[in-house]
């Protein structure tokens, strides 16, 4: 009987990428910047050791196919994602989140090519839920939509570097954004589950609460609101709805996934009154809608035509609203995050470690 050869992991791992030698750290930076491989900020040198550490953490061989980008037929492998993740500053423990976010972005309903090439200039908003937030130190409190912590900063940046380098989503190449927005450097947010009585976003979207999950959304820039002069849920949410109406008037009437970020101060008023995320979404769905004729008030009268009485809700259904508990403890602020192009791209939520192409278990 022939012996079965069992290879150790280090014998299987064989990186396929071309290598370059650089004399010092400055030479590395100049090589990557001059080749168009960065977002303009310095990168961490992606050495074989650093990339292999990411792959080992995720227990993936380098040639693991994460997906094939459907429009241009580009194969996305774990090795290439890991190289860009290292460049962005990711540690191995951050890499499974990058993998999951990319798997989610490659689902048909996300419409990745359109969302990343469009003149509309959206970014990919990444929302983290579940225990992995705590393992990574991802913070959903102070400065939640800004530079809140290392984990969300580097994960969000990795998403953009992967787009730049694996799909040529460079300004003026595949990325045809007219303006873009600062979230295109990094746009990652952790929900503050510990300080909220609400269902976490991933559970609201059908994932087990105990799982860690990533939600991706093709998203415009956040629009901040303020209302510290009431404790009534209807009045607080009216301010959010008004900002969504403003987006419907000034930007686009396509309905789709909007996100609203509710920090602790306003959240406590809503929770004290017994409002759940489902209640919030139902209220916002009713209030965040405009008549087409309102476009005439903002200089867009030419497209009202004979449809002035038509009503346009921000979401087709209440469950398209992503309600996220995050933000620092003080301040009557909140934010809405509008969709890139309404229902043309759908938000996708996936559990970290889930296989989207696996056969379902046989009954």
């Amino acid at each position: 009987m022939a012996e079965t050869a069992i290879l150790a992991v280090e014998e299987i791992v064989q990186l396929a990428s071309r290598t370059y030698d650089a004399n010092d750290i400055s030479a590395v930076q100049e090589l990557y910047h001059s080749s168009g491989w960065t977002d303009g900020l310095p990168i961490v040198p992606p050495t074989a050791e650093a990339v292999e550490a990411c792959l080992e953490w995720a227990m993936m061989p380098p040639d693991q196919l994460i997906g094939i980008e459907p429009v241009r037929g580009l194969a996305i492998t774990a090795e290439k994602l890991a190289i860009n993740a290292v460049m962005a500053g990711c540690l191995p423990m951050h890499f499974p989140v990058v993998l999951t976010a990319w798997t989610a972005m490659m689902q048909d309903e996300f419409l990745m090519h359109g969302a990343t090439a469009s003149t509309g200039g959206c970014a990919v908003l990444v929302v983290l839920n579940g225990p992995i937030r705590l393992e990574l130190g991802a913070s959903g409190t102070f400065n939640a939509l800004g530079n809140s912590d290392r984990a969300t900063a580097v994960i969000g940046r990795a998403i953009r570097l992967c787009l730049i380098n694996l799909m040529d989503v460079r300004p003026g190449v595949i990325d045809r954004s007219t303006l873009g927005h600062p979230g295109k450097f990094s746009f990652c947010l952790a929900e503050d589950e510990e300080d909220s009585a609400w269902l976490p976003l991933h559970e609201q979207r059908g994932i087990e609460r105990a799982a860690s999950a990533v939600t991706v959304m093709a998203a415009g820039a956040p629009r901040q609101i303020m209302n510290e002069w009431t404790t009534r849920p209807e009045e607080i949410l009216e301010t959010f709805a008004a900002e969504m109406r403003a987006n419907l008037r000034h930007y686009s009437i396509y309905p789709g996934n909007y996100a609203i970020i509710i920090p602790k101060q306003l959240r406590e008023h809503l929770q004290a009154a017994g409002w759940t995320k489902t209640d919030i979404a139902a209220f916002i769905h009713e209030r965040a809608r405009i008549h087409r004729r309102e476009w005439a008030e903002v200089g867009k009268g030419a497209v009202v035509r004979d449809r002035g009485d038509s009503v346009y809700p921000a979401m087709e259904r209440p469950d398209q609203l992503l309600v996220i508990a995050a933000g620092g403890p003080a301040g009557g602020f909140g934010a809405i995050v509008p969709p890139w192009l309404g229902h043309k791209s759908r938000a996708v939520t996936l559990a970290v470690g889930a296989c989207v192409d696996c056969e379902p278990p046989k009954k």
Binding site: Y20, D21, L31
Partner: protein, 93 residues
Amino acid sequence: MTFRVLDPTAEKAPPAGKAAPRLASLEGKTIGFISNGKEGTKGFFRHLDRMLREEHGVAKVVSRTKSNYSAPADAGIVAEIKSWDAVVSGIGD
């Protein structure tokens, strides 16, 4: 300290499409237009339609518009392409 670093790009070019054989003449041909439906396409395709018929003797122009301007053309439109002699796919912004 020297660094040996890895190429972050796909390295492989995306699978390239192949150009259809060029037409010797547009005379009597059927030309399809695939528009992304944006405002800028309307005047452009109207003008191109007139030019092709009046100046190049094109027999027929078939205009189709994608249902989603940021996604690939709908399967029904792609299936029609076979019945055209040439196609112009236009992005308008």
